[in-house]
């Protein structure tokens, strides 16, 4: 039980960190390259512990992200749900993917996420230059292997007491 609880603590800590990284000030040029940390973290937890993290979390995190970034309320919520639904649906298949294939899948999810944001911005005429949407997909794909390894490690560390018992 302690193991499960510390997994939960690690997950919550990582999600709060992801939210913080989403608003940490960066120099003007680097700001456009900021990866979607929240998506990456959520995808990781949906992939590894789907018994705890699902669409409800995607929805809540999305609302928090909307408030933080001053976007339309519900915009990031919908985009995050769209990105995490395929993970939850096909997670047994995704779990056995080799790293390269998994990264490609995550890239597609990030593209779906950004496209949703792009589309909603366009419909509500708050559109931005298209490059603003596509760079995070590229940088997100580049940092995904790192996120995955750190996550796996944290997961193993926090689950260890349970294994020891």
């Amino acid at each position: 039980m302690t193991g499960q609880r510390s997994v939960m603590a690690a997950a919550l800590a990582s999600l709060v960190l992801a939210l913080a990284l989403a608003i940490v000030p960066l120099p003007a040029q680097a700001g456009a390259l900021r990866p979607d940390w929240v998506v990456l973290a959520l995808v990781f937890w949906c992939l590894t512990t789907p018994s705890r993290f699902g669409l409800g979390w995607a929805f809540i995190l999305g609302l928090l992200l909307d408030t933080l970034t001053g976007a339309l309320l519900g915009q990031h919520a919908l985009a995050l749900m769209l990105a995490s639904y395929p993970v939850l649906r096909f997670r047994l298949r995704l779990r056995v993917f080799p790293m390269l294939q998994l990264t490609i899948a995550v890239t597609l999810l990030l593209a779906l996420y950004q496209f949703t944001l792009f589309w909603i911005d366009g419909v509500t005429s708050r559109g931005m230059p298209a490059s603003a949407y596509w760079w995070p997909v590229v940088t997100g794909a580049l940092v995904w292997p790192l996120v995955f390894h750190i996550g796996e490690r944290a997961l193993r560390e926090s689950a260890r007491p349970q294994v020891g018992l």
Binding site: A20, I23, P50, S51, F53, G54, F59, L72, G74, Q75
Partner: protein
């Protein structure tokens, strides 16, 4: 535990598909309500209060950095700064002596002309939180909210000029838009000759554009633009920008004019929130409708020659 493993998501008795559908409907409902009306302020307020600690924590390293800079400054540097400030203060006091006389004279003249008096503006210093909102929209968050009496549409200044206006307030924080945002426009006059026009943001913090002046307009490089106060949002008489480039093309109806904002849009750390208390004729009906419509970000009642319509 094994039963839990099999379930996907913390099940509320709903399968994945229906749950997705339900939450997506809620999200869509929220977006439509948020876009059409401003009924969701309560939800946003609640969320922003929850998130305030996070914003504060993100801001902390930057605040600490500035604090450390102050704390470790040498005595010599502080003395230099003190002397500099004393000199500045003396300068300003000399100017102020003349200002007092001018203000009195101005009030007398206005009274003679039957025009309303311009009351002094009340200001409050707010600090910009070091959090990024969106790299392509020129917006920022300040650490004052409804609890300090901040309201939507309120003007923000820095030491050098007009910076922007508040677009959304929460209990502890407020979101503001800079005058350089591509969605922003504010009514200005050329200080030299009182020519009215509108300065539009371009999405570039170094440039504002003045798209509504004909080729024959009396405007030159180096002219100072000050806020005209015609939109009702910004107080009048504060510097906005300096004209940097005027291009008159014979084939086109309007001149291409670009101006450089007076305020340090990216450098400001502290800003002044202004409550302009104005009475009488200056509040034309057009300004009130503008104020009532939260969808319009522009300080101007419209993009076009409408400020002229308000001239008495």
């Amino acid at each position: 535990m094994s039963r839990r493993r099999e379930a996907v998501g913390p099940a509320w008795g709903l399968a994945l598909g229906p749950k997705f559908f339900l939450l997506a409907l809620i999200a869509a409902g929220l977006m439509i309500t948020d876009h059409r009306q401003q009924h969701l302020a309560a939800i946003r307020d609640a969320l922003s209060v929850v998130l305030f600690p996070l914003q504060a924590v993100v801001n902390l390293p930057f605040a600490t950095w500035h604090w450390a800079g102050d704390a470790t400054a040498t005595r010599q540097a502080l003395m230099d700064e003190l002397n500099q400030l004393r000199d500045d203060r003396l300068d300003l006091q000399v100017q102020l002596q003349r200002l007092a006389a001018l203000e009195a004279e101005n009030a007398r003249l206005r009274a003679m002309m039957g025009a309303s008096r311009q009351a002094a503006d009340r200001v409050l210093v707010a600090e910009i939180l070091a959090v990024d909102l969106d790299p392509f929209r020129h917006r920022f968050t300040v650490n004052k909210g409804t609890r300090h009496g901040v309201h939507v549409g309120q003007a923000l200044l820095d030491a050098n000029g007009v910076l922007g206006q508040v677009v959304r307030v929460q209990p502890l924080t407020a979101e503001a838009i800079m005058i350089s945002d591509a969605d922003h426009a504010l009514p200005v006059i050329v200080n030299r000759n009182g020519l009215r026009t509108i300065a539009m943001g371009t999405g570039d913090t170094e440039h504002l554009s003045l798209p509504f002046l004909p080729n024959s307009a009396d405007i030159d490089e180096g002219d100072l633009l000050v806020s005209s106060g015609l939109g009702g949002t910004f107080p009048s008489g504060y510097p906005v920008a300096t004209v940097r480039r005027v291009e008159r093309r014979p084939g086109e109806a309007f001149a291409q004019i670009s101006a450089e904002p007076a305020a340090g849009l990216l450098r400001a750390r502290e800003v002044l929130l202004v409550w302009s208390s104005r009475t009488g004729e200056e509040e034309a009906p057009a300004e009130q409708t503008e104020r009532a419509d939260p969808g319009t970000l522009a300080g101007a009642p419209g993009s076009g020659p409408s400020p002229d319509g308000q001239a008495p």
